[in-house]
């Protein structure tokens, strides 16, 4: 009887091991859309208490746009938004979103601060926004450098630049109205189903969104709003400060330098970007990440660089997320921490007869 009991226990243990929390997946290879789709449902199955799949739209070719919602059950939670793959050829971006999800879940088990964040906030991560475009880049070598979505244009070419299609100063800077151009902003603001899906979904939750991170490549940049050279975000200084802290965190990982600034100063003016739209909704921390490299391989980043690129970007993203979280959830303790020394200083000055 004792023997059979032991056997039963053994069986139970091995059963649990195969189904719980371990998704067998190579995060350091590029994956075609079908593999990413399977990975999403595997993650949901392996982390039932923490991960849900939320569909929020369809692409032009009628494919599903969905995200992984990660967090412990709760009411009125604050939100961190991350999307990858708005531009089809930037393969390192979807790779990063997948890595981000895995690493966040792993550290939730070992890092109480991360666990707290998942209690206070939900992370909404879209591994591939421009599904049609991404799949197009996998069809053959000649299509590898495609950027836009796959809506047929009215002038004989395909595709709209989704990151020029949002309702934020649409069609004014950094666009070409030639539908063959890679910065064609579409027939009108939010004309594209992919942009509509994001606009609708995030628009409904924007009051609760603390940070909006949109992931691209290449260039090693952290870009803050706005794309228009004459429009400045009300919290510009704060965005720069947090951005610089993130760049510093990135450099600590593998020594890579990321520049921080507005698009018009660091890169080029543009309009209709998702990040600008998000900032206009009132979301305070909106950043565009341009990941590795600096132009040596550009869009064709070797797979050996996926791991270091993801590790450094994770560090940068978490710097911003931690800051946003701290601001929303630790206000009292933060202020209390300040008052102590301030009061002491004031008392010292008063007793010494000097003025502050």
């Amino acid at each position: 009887m004792f023997l059979s009991l032991t056997l039963t226990l053994l069986v139970l243990c091995s059963g649990t091991a195969t189904s719980a929390n371990r998704v067998d997946y190579d995060y350091f290879k590029y994956h075609r859309m079908e593999e990413i789709t399977k990975w999403k449902s595997d993650m949901v199955a392996a982390h039932k208490d923490l991960v849900k799949l939320v569909e929020y739209g369809k692409t032009y070719e009628n494919r599903t746009i969905d995200l992984l919602k990660i967090g412990f059950k709760g009411q009125n939670k604050k939100i961190i938004w991350m999307d990858c793959g708005i531009h089809a050829r930037e393969w390192i971006a979807p790779a990063f979103c997948q890595y981000f999800v895995k690493t966040l879940l792993e550290s939730s088990k070992t890092d109480p601060k991360v666990e707290l964040m998942l209690r206070n906030m939900d992370f909404y991560v879209t591994p591939v926004l421009n599904v049609d475009g991404y799949m197009f880049t996998w069809t053959n070598e000649t299509n590898r450098l495609w950027r836009k979505n796959r809506t047929p244009g009215s002038c004989g070419c395909f595709g709209t630049d989704l990151n020029r299609n949002f309702y934020s100063n649409w069609g004014t800077k950094g666009v070409s109205f030639n539908c063959c151009s890679n910065t064609y902003p579409g027939q009108g603001p939010v004309s594209e189903p992919e942009a509509q899906a994001l606009t609708q979904f995030v628009g409904n939750i924007s009051d609760n969104v603390l940070a909006f991170l949109t992931i691209h490549s290449y260039g090693q940049l952290l870009l803050i709003p706005y794309g228009h050279p004459e429009v400045i975000a009300p919290n510009h200084d704060q965005l720069m400060e947090v951005g610089l802290a993130a760049a510093e965190a990135i450099e600590k990982v593998h020594g890579m330098k990321y520049k921080v600034g507005t698009s018009p100063t660091i890169l080029y003016p543009n309009s209709g970007s998702s990040r600008d739209w998000a900032r206009l909704q009132g979301i305070p921390y909106t950043f565009t990440f341009e990941l590795r490299d600096n132009g040596t391989h550009g869009f064709l980043l070797p797979q050996e660089q996926i791991q270091p690129a993801c590790e450094e970007a994770y560090s940068g993203a978490m710097t911003i997320i931690r800051h946003a979280h701290q601001e929303a959830f630790s206000r009292a303790p933060e202020t209390a921490a300040l008052w102590g020394p301030l009061l002491l200083m004031a008392m010292a000055q008063w007793s010494l007869g000097c003025s502050l």
């Binding site: 890679n182 018009p264 980043l301």
Partner: protein
Amino acid sequence: MQCYLMIIVETEGSEEEVMETTGELNPNHYPAQRAANAARHYVNTRYGSPYKVFMLHKVHSGNAEDVANGRKYQLEISFQEMLSNNTYKGSAEVLYPREGPGSPEVKVSCAELEAYHKTQEEEALYQKLKTSVSMLSAQELPDSHGRIEPDMEPLWSLGIVASSFIMLKESTEDTLYNMAQVGSVTQVFTETVELKFDYLVLLHDMVSQEIIRWKLQFGWSPLGGVKVQQMEKIPHRHT
């Protein structure tokens, strides 16, 4: 090591930006960065080889002014050689012509770069390709996954160097070029001293985000460097 790089960049009347485009430049902002990138292309045309490719490491300072025949940038730049990771610091002058099309005039003066000698690897590659019975050919360097066969890496590097002639020629204050990919390389039989190649290269202009394809025919030898014989832009494909 002090390098003096002069890039002469001419600009048409360009749109007013609310940031410094004349006078003292922020070295991290795009005007200095674009001019420095043009300087980098010049350095590659002059000193590049299958085993020596220069990337932009850092722009230390920059200054731009309107001059009689165009727009002149003066820059302090560090370049980084891709294989060795050595950095080379110097100054550059870039003059973009004011009227009509035309490549920027670049001046670089850099003692360490000028002390260039052909290397053993270059000589070995040259001999291997000169004496080989079959003509080398390859496609897509890197491939979709960013992979380049180790044997093909020098041909990829050579592609960057040769592309630099085009990228320099095409550089303006409104462009930022990198070579995205070698579409194909074919060695062409020749009885001259130099090796001869036909390349199809895909260039990425960061500002327009376009991929522009060019055909190139050029000669290369360790002592002679790259000598471009023909270059031809391929019209945009409609897909």
